[in-house]
Structure formats: structure tokens, C-alpha cells
């Protein structure tokens, strides 16, 4: 379209077709469906923890699974809601901040657990930092997160996120947390040190990838 004063509005009018306003709930449903896909892949490739199969899941599993899921939902909602600019900012899209603060108790708890580990357990504590234990968590969370993030990005491109960088970071956290939550059904580890270290690293990595890669797909 030619620029400047010669711009003819009728070009846009002629191009008008009915459109259905985007609904954040649909985006959330899509993200959750992708999380389910990741969960099924995890189930197929890695199996499920014995305590879940026995119907008596460990408390640490429940804490990890639920906190990652809540973090994923809160940040996912904030990311998807940003596709509709100037909508009431008090519609719950800011709840991700306290949720993220609460989730930071895991890495903080891991630090405390490491520092307070009795000398006889220090070797065991150090062992938790070896990639052998956490690499699977890191890879599944990030790769699974790409599946969730792709669906979110495709949905977000229909909208008009005003801050692609911020939305990208939120997409990264949400997708990493949702995939991490799905992976937790297979991960046999039950220590705070492990969860606080590797799940947190996975989310940190996802958020950085989201912050620096996703915005180029969201610019409009």
C-alpha cells in the first residue's frame, strides 16, 4: 500500500472479513493440550514413577508437580492475555509474579539444604549437581517446552502482544514449567536439592530462550 497522504482506507474496507475475537481460554486449552502431549511422550518413552502407579505418590512429587503446573498456568495465562492489549490489567494476568516468587522457594530451599547437609552427607549432596542426574530433567523440560511454546506462539501471533520481550519470557517460563510438570511423572528423584537445582535450571533456561528467541516470532 502506498504511503503518505495517498493512503486509501477503502483498501482495508474491501479486505474486511468477519473475525471472531481471540479468547485467552482457547489459548490456555491449547497449551494444556500440548502439555498433555508431552506427558504422553514422557509416559511412552520413560514410563511412570512406581509410587504413582501404586496410587501412593510421594509428597515431594506432588509438591513439584503441582507447583510447576501452577507456575505454568499463571505465566501461561499472563503470556496469552498479553495478546489482547489494553484489556483490564486487573484481570488476573499479574498473578504470575507472586506465583513465581513462591516457586523460588524450591531453589532457595535447595541452597539451604545443601548448606545444612551434615558432613557425612555432603558427598551425596554434591552428587546431585552432577549432570548425570539432572540432564534428563533439563532436556525433557526444554525440548518438551518447545512443543508447548510452539503452540502458544502460533496462538499469540493472532493477537497483538504489546511487549514481545516480556511475553516471550513468560512463554519460556510457562512452557518450561508445564513440560517440567509433565516430566515429573517419570522422574524418580524426591529430594529438594534435586528439584530445586534441576527443575529451576530448566525453567531459567526456558525463560532465557523465550526472552531472546520468541520475540522475533511475535513482532507485528
Amino acid at each position: 500500500m502506498a504511503g503518505g497522504a495517498g493512503f486509501d482506507l477503502s483498501q482495508l474496507v474491501d479486505d474486511l472479513k468477519p473475525v471472531r475475537p481471540i479468547r485467552v481460554a482457547e489459548g490456555m486449552a491449547l497449551a494444556l493440550a500440548m502439555m498433555l502431549v508431552v506427558g504422553m511422550l514422557v509416559y511412552g518413552l520413560l514410563g511412570v514413577r512406581a509410587d504413582i502407579m501404586a496410587g501412593r505418590p510421594h509428597m515431594m512429587f506432588l509438591l513439584r508437580w503441582a507447583s510447576l503446573l501452577v507456575l505454568g498456568l499463571a505465566t501461561g495465562y499472563a503470556a496469552l492475555a498479553s495478546a489482547r492489549p489494553a484489556v483490564n490489567p486487573h484481570d488476573g494476568r499479574s498473578i504470575w509474579k507472586p506465583v513465581l516468587a513462591l516457586s523460588s522457594l524450591f531453589p532457595l530451599g535447595a541452597v539451604v539444604a545443601f548448606l545444612r547437609a551434615p558432613p557425612e552427607n555432603s558427598v551425596q549432596a554434591m552428587d546431585m549437581f552432577r549432570p548425570f542426574w539432572g540432564l534428563e530433567c533439563l532436556i525433557v523440560s526444554v525440548v518438551g517446552g518447545v512443543i508447548v511454546a510452539t503452540a502458544m506462539i502460533l496462538w499469540l501471533r493472532r493477537g497483538a502482544p504489546g511487549s514481545p520481550e516480556r511475553t516471550g519470557m513468560l512463554v519460556g517460563i510457562a512452557s518450561g514449567a508445564m513440560a517440567g510438570s509433565a516430566y515429573s511423572i517419570a522422574c524418580p528423584m524426591n529430594t529438594l536439592l534435586y528439584v530445586g537445582t534441576w527443575a529451576s535450571l530448566a525453567i531459567l533456561l526456558s525463560s532465557l530462550l523465550g526472552r531472546y528467541i520468541v520475540p522475533r516470532f511475535l513482532a507485528w
Binding site: L9, A86, G159
Partner: protein
């Protein structure tokens, strides 16, 4: 005179359903509103292009409007995104990259007032505001601005960089 919020909202609701007459009216009103919105923010020579780009964004992103919410804050958010994008392009072209986050959540016309170019420039040190006016608004070269202000060429560049960065941060937090 620009139509009321209620009228614009009704026109947008009809437009979303595919009513071309309403859409033509709506775009004409949007054009008037945007011309006023941008008038105090950018150089007059860039006004038509920016209004056009924003109207195209309004068209492409109309599905992001929530029919239950007021229309003008949505239009202002679209306009604000395009404006900051415009500032970025101008800045990148001349000086390099500007990496501020964009936030677009204005709630009412007071945002327009807070973000007027003169208001933003008034918050900057005179040295920065002066070279931004000369180079970015009047259209002088870096060399000419340096001669006119007595600043060195590198200081002119630094002052433009810092000034625009500070303005973008104010836009972000408005």
C-alpha cells in the same frame, strides 16, 4: 470532532461481524484520532506514514479487540506499539539498536498527555533534549547539530542515545 467511545465500540463490534459500512466509518474516525494522537509525538513529515501503518495494524489485529471492553484504550495500545516501533526504527537506522521492552496498556487519554513529545523532552537534560530536537525533529545532521550546539559529534550521538533511551523507558512505565 471524533465520535464517542460508545459509538466507536459499536462500530468496532459491527466491523468484527463483517459490516463494511461501519468499518469505513470506524477507520475514518481512527484516522482522525491517530493523527491527533501522534501530532505531538513525531515529526510532521512522518505522521501520514505512521497513521497508515497503525491503521493497517488495526486491520490485521482486529481480532485482539475484546468487544466487552472500551475501544479507545485498545486503539491507543495499537498506536503506542506502532509509535515505539517507529522510534526504534528511526533510532536503529541512525544510531544502532534500542533494546527497550514495549509495553502497551494505556487506559485512557491521559496517556496521550503524559507521552507527548514535548513532555518527554522536558524531562531530559537540556543538552540531550536540544540535540534530539535538532537531529530527530528538525532533521539536522550530527555534524550540523554539533556545530549549532557546540557539542562534539560524539557527544551529540551519546546525548541522542541516552535521551531516546530515557524517553523509551518513560513510555514503557507510563
Amino acid at each position: 470532532m471524533i465520535a464517542s467511545e460508545d459509538t466507536l465500540r459499536q462500530l468496532m463490534q459491527a466491523s468484527l461481524a463483517g459490516d463494511r459500512k461501519s468499518y469505513a466509518l470506524l477507520l475514518a474516525e481512527c484516522q482522525k484520532w491517530l493523527e491527533r494522537y501522534y501530532a505531538r509525538k513525531i515529526a510532521p513529515s512522518a505522521l501520514d506514514d505512521l497513521v497508515q501503518e497503525t491503521l493497517i495494524s488495526v486491520h490485521r489485529k482486529r481480532a485482539s479487540y475484546d468487544p466487552e471492553r472500551p475501544f479507545l484504550p485498545w486503539l491507543a495500545a495499537i498506536g503506542r506499539y506502532r509509535w515505539i516501533d517507529h522510534l526504534r526504527k528511526v533510532y536503529r537506522r541512525d544510531e544502532g539498536e534500542l533494546n527497550e521492552e514495549l509495553h502497551a496498556a494505556p487506559e485512557d487519554d491521559s496517556v496521550t498527555d503524559r507521552l507527548s513529545l514535548e513532555t518527554l523532552l522536558a524531562t531530559l537534560p537540556e543538552g540531550q533534549a536540544e540535540v534530539i530536537r535538532l537531529v530527530k525533529i528538525t532533521g539536522l545532521s550530527i555534524v550540523e547539530a554539533a556545530e549549532q550546539t557546540g557539542q562534539s559529534e560524539s557527544l551529540v550521538k551519546v546525548n541522542i542515545h541516552r535521551g531516546i533511551k530515557k524517553m523509551a523507558m518513560m513510555v514503557e512505565s507510563a
